[in-house]
Symmetry: C2
Subunit: 313 residues, 2 copies
């Protein structure tokens, strides 16, 4: 299915009342260090602390009145659980969240704060899918996938749209790559709302499924995923992969040390709190200095939800 | 000596090219938690990471050409050492910084980055003063005190001036109280650039010298100062104390637990990195909820230079 520019513009209009238009920051010190001209789109300041709010809002907005009344369901232990809960609350829709029993209490508490109704299950993908499926049957709720859903993808694309509206002359937009929703949406935004700008993905070497998927032409998985960027362990899906394959220039892989070092730079120099996943994009710029030298480069800071008790510093 | 409104306006004009006009942030979540309407003046985003840049720039700008050529000297192991170094560098003035041998290497490195010339000395106040005095004699450099200097005080006041220009209808401006430069400058800004706004100080119970000084009418010192807010251990001086006594409504004292809890709230909810000293002001608002209920309250976030390896979380 071909996405149109008009479609993206309508998505931006739809989600506008439910999200923050986040600020775009620059840092002279990071420009000096990287040699690039960087613009940071700060989705760590987004509602519930991550870009996922955009996709969740758009997905619910696209449901019929009847479906909305029956609610939405997802399985997630991360930002999407919070995002769907908060978006559903804003739209007065019930949200059923399947979480593994092993999920940290702080994450369950956050979902509850946003009004999500939690069902716990054993910590396997099979159990999570089955539990979500049972809830669907019992309640008639609609299942919303965190990244492999076209409405979610288009919602996530609005961050890059805003960035390009603020800075139409970017040479590159870089995003971290996890389940593929953010990079796919961003790549569509770059395609329709820029001139010569290219969309590049950034991925941990320890979870480089997207890099391998682009190489092999089919969706690859991670055998293990021993990365600090815990939001980037998931695989691409059949809806976002074709969009990524067609519209993403390439993917740059970075080591764990490079991620930690970039994370510390952002915290120390910019004085903002970002997730390790967000630092992966800056790490890519530092790794490939020559590529980005003097280039206007937009970086999507994906989120800022970190456990302050467990920092890598 | 009576300060005039015009004088403060001129200071703002003078320092403008050497500082950032920092953003003023709000947080719906913190408003909900406190019941107040809070506006955070983010000096953690200031050049070198703290409001001290303002006073340092103003102090150097007020020196004659001849004095500037001979340089400036201070003794400090904290933000003012960095501020004076960077301000001096911007104005092409030599900066001599006396630091205790025991100062962390990371702080010495920061001063060097900004071009300050470090002289190390034993870690007593007497040694620091003597060493600075020797440098004065050898070089003809002018000694600039970090907080008890009128030009420094007026420079620090420009943060509250900007805040009141952005939000003229504030009921309160709260700042942390350390050596007294920030609170004295802020109180003058409130006096001249607001209607009914009041300036309130916030201080750790563990270093409540300013609270005791206002009570006794003379400058008190701290016997010990066992506080996480390491920027607030110093005492008031004979230049800032009269300004504080005349223009500060009162000082609210907070416990170490209250400071840590407020610090965590700012980090987790606002996703910005601030020093423990900055959290003291929010802690005061939380401690005296009834005072600030529904009140438009400006908080000066003093800085964001923290050692990420030594967090209290």
């Amino acid at each position: 299915m071909e996405i149109t520019k008009l479609q993206l513009e309508k998505v931006q209009e739809h989600v506008r009342p439910y999200i923050h238009r986040t600020p775009v920051l620059k840092s002279r010190l990071l420009n000096e260090i990287t040699g690039a001209e960087l613009w940071f789109k700060c989705e760590n300041f987004q509602k519930m602390g991550a870009f996922k709010m955009r996709g969740a809002a758009n997905a619910i907005l696209n449901l019929s009145e009847e479906k909305r009344n029956k609610g939405v369901v997802t399985h997630s232990s991360g930002n999407f659980a919070q995002a769907l809960s908060l978006a559903a609350k804003s739209l007065k829709v019930p949200a059923y969240i399947v979480m593994p029993e092993t999920a940290p209490e702080v994450k369950k508490a956050a979902v509850r704060t946003y009004g999500g109704q939690i069902t716990e299950c054993p910590a396997t993908l099979k159990d999570r899918e089955e539990t979500a499926s049972q809830i669907q049957q019992q309640t008639g709720a609609t299942f919303i996938h965190p990244s492999n859903d076209l409405d979610v993808i288009l919602g996530q694309g609005t961050a890059a749209m805003e960035l390009l509206q603020d800075h139409p002359d970017l040479d590159y937009v870089i995003t971290p790559v996890g389940g593929g929703g953010l990079i796919a949406g961003s790549a569509l935004a770059v395609k329709y709302f820029s001139g010569e700008c290219k969309c590049i993905g950034a991925e941990p070497l320890e979870a480089d499924d997207a890099w391998r998927s682009l190489k092999s032409g089919k969706i690859e998985t991670n055998e293990s995923a021993n990365t600090i960027a815990d939001g980037l362990k998931t695989n691409l899906g059949d809806i976002n992969f074709p969009i990524i394959r067609e519209n993403v220039e390439r993917i740059i892989r970075v080591s764990e040390d490079e991620i930690k070092s970039a994370l510390r730079l952002i915290w120390e120099r910019m004085k903002i709190i970002v997730e390790p996943s967000s630092a992966v994009a800056l790490a890519a710029v530092i790794r490939e200095k020559e590529t980005f030298k003097n280039k206007k480069t937009g970086i999507i800071i994906s989120g800022g939800n970190v456990d302050l008790s467990k920092l890598p510093f």
